[in-house]
């Protein structure tokens, strides 16, 4: 635990023993991949990994879309591993009620050590089943510290299914959010008024419909997980992108609308003024209700926790702590200002081994995110994960409503964690 003016910027900290609380995690690659309509997943892994995944699938309501090929040591050492995967797909398709449009073949960490020739496997499967799209995906948490962790590669695989389209619509895709934004989200409303539609993968219930995402003129990247995927779509499909991660700062939202206005050659800033004023009013209102109650912000709940801490501090809130395992590059500017202007805010790495001693237990923080809630034992907790569904000015308003609800209500953190499907 350190004050933000004193933390070591090289964090994530040196490799050490980690503490992982039951509240740690997010959607995970299985649930994200299941967003692709008419897709199925085949997990190639040892028995125990499969059991873990199956229970997760059950909790998230997608168990009927996941199958498992359990492998043994002899499969690995004999070199029969590759043929086994090909044969198992035959069996899987015989067993499924309907052959899927897409099969994601997930391999677990051990595959990283084998150097399996997945391109050859996929080529053979493509030949055998020309109407199915096969993709190799990795369920390898050991790659978390690389440029291509599982979340990033699954997004690339999902949107890599789209082919270049000759048709271009006045349509903008949202990448990076796991859920579609509400109809009243200012981004959707403002674009709709200008004749543009907004498309999110979860808006599509068939693979054919999903493919129309390639007809968009622009991708908006709302979270870092989808940045490489957007770059890939720009390269392969000719769809440019704007990276504007969820930000609860009214001025940042205004800047985003300026950039977007330029792209669509329509003014979105003037018509968004009302929303801007409303967001500022909501911030002021929440501050008046919450007063000086110390606030803790969790990096799993908020994509830009340092930016949020700065915004809240500038609006008079008492931010006490940010729980984050590091300062990502896109948060560096906010962090620098924060460290200078609000040097006493604590930065706690929830994954550090000391976290297991629960140094904040019993301190009454108003927590944004349930990992902070778990760390502190607070009953004032905003139930949110990865900024789910929040974007633009309405996102700020909604977050302020949730903050006030959490402040005035009584949270059951255990129930929140269970609902999020994190305990398997």
């Amino acid at each position: 635990m350190s004050k933000c003016s004193m933390i070591n910027l090289s964090c994530p900290a040196e490799p050490s023993l980690h503490y992982v609380s039951p509240a740690h995690g997010g959607w995970g690659v299985v649930r994200i991949a299941a967003l692709v309509p008419e897709s199925h997943q085949l997990f190639v892994c040892p028995f125990a990994c499969g059991r873990h995944g199956a229970l997760g699938g059950e909790q998230n309501g997608i168990k009927d879309r996941i199958s498992y090929l359990f492998i043994t040591e002899s499969d690995i050492v004999s070199g029969d591993f590759e043929q086994l995967i090909i044969d198992s797909v035959d069996e899987l398709f015989e067993a499924l009620p309907k052959i899927p449009k897409v099969l994601f073949i997930f391999t677990s960490c051990l595959d990283d050590l084998l150097g399996t020739d997945h391109e050859a496997i996929l080529a053979e499967l493509d030949r055998k089943f020309p109407h199915v799209k096969f993709r190799h995906c990795t369920m390898n948490p050991i790659s978390l510290d690389t440029s291509y962790p599982p979340g990033v590669t699954i997004e690339m695989n999902m949107y890599g299914l789209l082919g270049r389209s000759g048709v271009k619509r006045k349509q903008i895709n949202i990448l990076g959010s796991n859920v579609s934004f509400d109809a009243e989200c200012d981004l959707k409303t403002l674009l709709r008024e200008k004749g543009w539609s907004v498309s999110h993968i979860s808006d599509h219930d068939s693979f054919e419909s999903f493919k129309t995402m390639s007809e968009a003129r622009l991708n908006i990247v709302t979270a870092p997980i989808a940045l490489k995927s957007a770059q890939q779509m720009e390269r392969e499909l000719g769809i440019p992108y704007i990276a504007s991660y969820v930000n609860h700062t009214p001025k940042a939202v205004e800047n985003f609308y300026e950039e977007l206005s330029e792209f669509i050659e329509e003014d979105l800033v003037a018509p968004s003024k009302g929303y801007h004023i409303k967001a500022e009013e909501k911030l002021a209102w929440a501050r008046s209700v919450i007063g000086d109650q110390p606030i803790a912000i969790d990096f799993q709940a908020i994509i830009k926790p340092f930016s949020l801490a700065l915004t809240l501090s500038e609006h008079g809130f008492n931010v006490g702590m940010i729980a984050s395992d590091g300062v990502p590059s896109h948060e560096r500017a906010a962090f620098d200002v924060l460290a200078k202007k609000y040097p006493d805010i604590l930065v706690e790495n929830p994954l550090a081994h000391e976290a297991v001693t629960f140094p904040f237990e019993g301190e009454q923080y108003l927590c944004i995110g349930f990992d902070c809630g778990y760390m502190t034992g607070s009953d004032k907790v905003v139930n949110i994960m990865e900024d789910e569904g929040l974007y633009g000015y309405i996102g700020i308003c909604r977050l302020m409503d949730m903050l006030v609800e959490a402040y005035t209500g009584k949270a059951n953190v255990q129930e929140m964690i269970k609902e999020a499907g994190l305990i398997i």
Partner: protein, 254 residues
Amino acid sequence: MRRIAIYGKGGIGKSTTASNLSAAFSALGYSVLQIGCDPKADSTKNLTEGKRINSVLDAIREKGEDNITAEDVLFHSPSGVWCVEAGGPTPGIGCAGRGIITALEKLEELGAYDICKPDIILYDVLGDVVCGGFAMPIRGGYAKNVFIVTSGEMMSLYAASNIASAVRNFGKRGYASYSGVILNSRNVPDEVKTVQKALDEIGGNIVSVIPRDSAVQEAENQGKTVIEALPHSKMASCYRELAERMIKLTEDEQ
């Protein structure tokens, strides 16, 4: 671009052959990238004045996976050859095959090939182990032609047979093809005859016979290839002839 892999048993003279070939290709006017795929990370030593260069895995260890740049792992030798060493884990622990996979993937990610713009890529690969990692250079997107360095010694020929068999397995997938054997003489009695007899079973031809010559050691003592240290020697001519022959035997792919 020509993509060539040199395989062979450990200690058989692959790196000496590879670095002399690189220097010879370079002297012929080709832009060359030599990638050492051996955990010992000494493939390019004779191209870099006897000094070891930082390997890709060393750089990852020192600077972190996300912080390394192509400049950290790409070195330009005095003879104009671009040199890379994949490197390996701490001896005795870790997985060397995985190290090769990581290093080759990292080179692509860093855009190393765009920086060097090589006419020829030469992979120098240990051939005793044929796990997935060490087979990586003969997979799709990597080497197109595989040459095996062997002597007339039984263990070396046994390794050559294993490697040829692995290449043929991959060949069915349209990957690299086995292009022949470079006989690096150890002065075994009837060496050419012995190797030729083995090749009757293994398949393939002797592309070149490299005689055993003290010039190699003399050059190595200077931290150089024979091409650079003793350019007018018989051995230098021998490596140059081999380089020219390999140009004819390999395909220049766009």
